[in-house]
């Protein structure tokens, strides 16, 4: 410990480490790789975000103005694939890389070379995916869920999309193995499982979900590929298969995937709220068990995504009730975050603002999810803008806000500088207003009958669509501020202390800011 404290970042750069771009290509350092992941996610956030703005531009008014329907569908499909696999998941992996070794007192990730491999596959995978936009027939346009038989009308893009998904899966599985092994094998002496920070716990469970379901997605898209090119009939009724079978296999992956994108967010919020409420997390053990329960339930609810395909009544009832059960552990979490703040000495720095917005707005998304779980109601909501509003509430002010909260919370630890608090708050308020103006009206649009994934709409939907589009541009453009704030903080700013915040808990606050290149070469003793 004392030895890490006296090391300067310069001294720590090993003489055998190449300089410049070579350093980043060959690095095995968890902090370097975490930075790569986060920057890649930021880039993809803007690529996917631009596609969202194209969608909202076209939907600003009824009729077809800017893009043709085929391209519109490519935008909805690619927006989803990029945001899920390119932005949210890599951002969480980046945070895991940076913070898990720091939080458990490990010198690095358990398998450092494989860690590098997990990252560097991604730019190549997304090159493959994005290149499809320039192919004959354009990119995939059948939705990110790739349902056959629709997806089998894709042009040259199909094998590229499928093989890109294989690469993303390989990357995720290796990353998840690394996270689990690091947590199970690299904890400092005294860091027992039930002393681990919640962010570490949620990532442990997330990594398990990833290893369990990414191979299932690989299987599903492999079947698509062989159906298309090698004459198998997994999804053709004529040969005894069933297109609905794809949906079952896909959502067996897809629903745990949803929790892969929210559990680490729970972890981040569980770190931030206690710090700014200046109270320990309420009900730590319950939080851990709730996370595990949510993960378990995620495996037995998948068919609630497909209530309208005509499955037997018993199946509908089972999946409806199992889905409703998720509200119980999630409710435990929301209650505990609230109870943590009860009579706390609260302050509202930017990370806390984002965490609070998460708490309120994620809960709205959770409630609309509960509405969707009711089979007879879902018949009405299915494939409408209500669904779009629901999952964007849990993904944007849910996952994305939690990532931003985490970035503001730990940025001083990474860079050694405080970010600009005023700019941070402006960024927060623009984001939170933009998000609500974008997505809240979509609830009304959906309930009034506007279908998703259609570039045109009936004129009575115009007002809410205009609102939504204006909100989207406010939200999208205000993210340029986020980039500005991050790079401004990297380049300079007020010096951050080792603790950064007022008596935060966690080993990461015992190392200097910026965290030296190598930390915890000697394991700290945890009491």
């Amino acid at each position: 410990m004392s030895d890490t404290a006296t090391h300067t970042a310069d001294h720590d750069d090993h003489h055998d480490t190449p300089k410049g771009i070579m350093r980043w290509l060959t690095t095995t350092n968890h902090k370097d790789i975490g930075t790569l992941y986060l920057l890649f996610a930021l880039l993809m956030f803007f690529v996917g975000g631009s596609m969202a703005l194209i969608i909202r531009l076209e939907l600003f008014q009824p009729g077809l103005q800017y893009v043709n329907p085929e391209f519109f569908n490519q935008m909805t499909t690619m927006h989803a694939l990029i945001m899920i696999f390119g932005a949210v998941m890599p951002a969480f992996v980046g945070l895991a890389n940076w913070m898990i070794p720091l939080q458990i007192g490990a010198p690095d990730m358990a398998l450092p070379r494989m860690n590098n491999f997990s990252f560097w596959i991604l730019p190549f995978a997304f090159t493959l995916l994005l290149s499809t936009l320039f192919m004959p027939g354009g990119g995939p346009a059948g939705g990110w869920t790739l349902y056959p038989p629709l997806v089998q009308q894709t042009g040259d893009a199909l094998p590229f999309v499928i093989l890109a998904i294989h690469l993303m899966g390989i990357s995720s599985i290796m990353g998840a193995i690394n996270v689990i092994v690091t947590i199970m094998n690299m904890r400092a002496p005294g860091m027992t499982l039930l002393k681990m920070p919640l962010f570490v716990w949620t990532w442990l469970i997330t990594a398990y979900l990833l290893i369990a379901v990414m191979p299932v997605l690989a299987g599903a898209v492999t079947m698509l590929l062989t159906d298309q090119f090698f004459g198998t009939t997994f999804f053709h009724a004529a040969g005894g298969g069933d297109p609905v079978m794809f949906q079952h296999i896909f959502w067996f992956f897809g629903h745990p995937e949803v929790y892969i994108m929210i559990l680490p967010a729970f972890g981040i919020v569980s770190e931030i709220i206690p710090t700014f409420a200046r109270k320990p997390l309420f009900g730590y053990d319950a939080m851990v068990y709730a996370t595990a329960s949510i993960a378990f339930l995620s495996f037995i609810v998948w068919a609630h995504h497909m209530f309208t395909v005509g499955m037997p009544l018993a199946g509908q009832l089972f999946f409806m009730f199992a889905t409703m059960l998720i509200a119980v552990p999630t409710g435990v979490k929301v209650f505990n975050w609230t109870a943590t703040m009860w009579r706390g000495a609260m302050t509202f720095e930017t990370p806390m603002l984002f965490a609070l917005a998460f708490l309120f707005l994620f809960t709205i998304g959770g409630f609309s999810g509960l509405m969707l779980s009711i089979v007879p109601a879902d018949y009405q909501y299915h494939d409408s803008y209500f669904v779009v509003a629901h999952f964007h509430y849990v993904l944007v002010p849910g996952s994305v806000f939690a990532i931003m909260a985490g970035v503001y919370y730990w940025l001083p630890k990474w860079t050694g500088h405080m970010y600009d608090e005023t700019l941070g708050k402006i960024h927060f308020w623009l984001s939170v207003i933009g998000v609500n103006v974008t997505f809240f009206p979509q609830h009304f649009l959906g309930l009034a009958g506007m279908p998703r994934r259609i570039p045109d709409y009936a004129t009575q939907f115009t007002n809410f669509n205009m609102m939504s589009s204006i909100g989207a541009f406010i939200f999208g453009l205000s993210q340029l501020m986020f980039v500005y704030i991050i790079f401004k903080t990297i380049r300079g700013g007020a010096k951050a202390s080792a603790e950064v915040w007022e008596s935060p808990t966690g080993l990461e606050w015992t190392v200097p800011s910026p965290a030296p290149h190598h930390t915890f070469d000697e394991a700290p003793q945890v009491k």
Partner: protein
């Protein structure tokens, strides 16, 4: 390059991952182009060659570090846990295909035959279709075929694979008791049995294509049969290659009675393909 003896070994800088990423990229790009019929075979083969080169170089580096004694017991545990989770991911990959098999047999084929919610599907679209298993579907995709029973070649293959599990365990005990002769002999027997299994599978495939008219495109039965046994055969081949590498390392005097992670990891992998085969034998060939 080790950070310090006694500490957790953190390697500094490696070229293998980026080489592997480039190789995978070429492999995928080439394969996608080849599938589209726009000529990507050579880039794909080049990519594959790069990936194989990466595996060789990366593992060689790890073996060198291991022999040089860089790996503490804690590093060893990381490798073990990593391998276990990798095998778990493989289990889930096979689970997707077994899931497809069970779904087709228990749900989609009976529904096409009019059972339960499929009453009108059968009446309006596939009238007269009698659901049986094996089937190539109501449209008879791929034409008439014969399924292979469990008692010929598949039973012999089961015996071969189970025997290879036994010989591998004998080799493992020999390694732990430092009987190098027995180790090398039984390990050789194990990978030989593995290769014989793959050879017999290949023979069975030829026979099925030529005499039984059972092909990959023979409806849902052909799809599930060949995808499951095909991926399994591919994994047996990989396992056999791993066994051969471990065997060559044994010949060079690697591994001690106490430390032999590569041997154990390969053994776990081999038992995993063994168990998958038992699932295949019961659900694909037998019932």
């Amino acid at each position: 390059m080790a950070h310090a003896t006694g500490k957790y070994y953190v390697p500094h800088g490696s070229w293998w991952p980026i080489i592997g990423s480039v190789g995978l990229f070429a492999l995928m790009l080439g394969s996608a182009n080849a599938l589209n019929g726009s000529g990507g075979t050579w880039p794909a083969l080049l990519g594959l060659a790069i990936v194989l080169f990466m595996f060789y170089g990366w593992f060689a580096e790890v073996v060198r570090e291991s022999v040089a004694g860089y790996y503490s017991a804690q590093v060893d545990r990381s490798f073990r846990q990593g391998m276990i989770w990798f095998i778990f991911s493989e289990v889930m990959f096979f689970a997707a295909f077994f899931g497809a098999l069970f779904y087709a047999r228990a749900l989609s084929v009976p529904w096409l035959g009019g059972e339960g919610v499929g009453f009108f599907t059968n009446l309006l679209l596939w009238e007269g279709f009698e659901p049986t298993w094996p089937t190539d579907g109501p449209a008879g995709v791929g034409g008439d075929f014969t399924a292979i029973g469990p008692w010929g070649l598949p039973a012999i293959n089961t015996a071969i694979l189970l025997t290879s599990g036994v010989t591998l365990t004998i080799a493992h005990h020999a390694l732990r008791d430092n009987h190098r002769g027995i180790l090398i002999g039984f390990l050789a027997a194990t990978w030989l049995l593995g290769l014989i299994f793959v050879g017999l599978q290949a023979y069975e495939y030829v026979e099925l294509y030529q005499d039984y008219n059972l092909r990959l495109d023979t409806g849902i039965y052909g799809s599930t049969f060949f995808m499951l046994t095909g991926f399994h055969g591919f994994h047996v081949t990989l396992g056999a290659i791993m066994l051969i590498v471990v065997w060559l390392r044994c010949l060079r005097g690697h591994f001690t009675p106490k430390q032999h992670f590569a041997f154990e990891a390969t053994a776990w992998y081999w038992h995993f393909v063994d168990v998958v085969w038992l699932g295949l034998y019961v659900f694909v060939y037998w019932f």
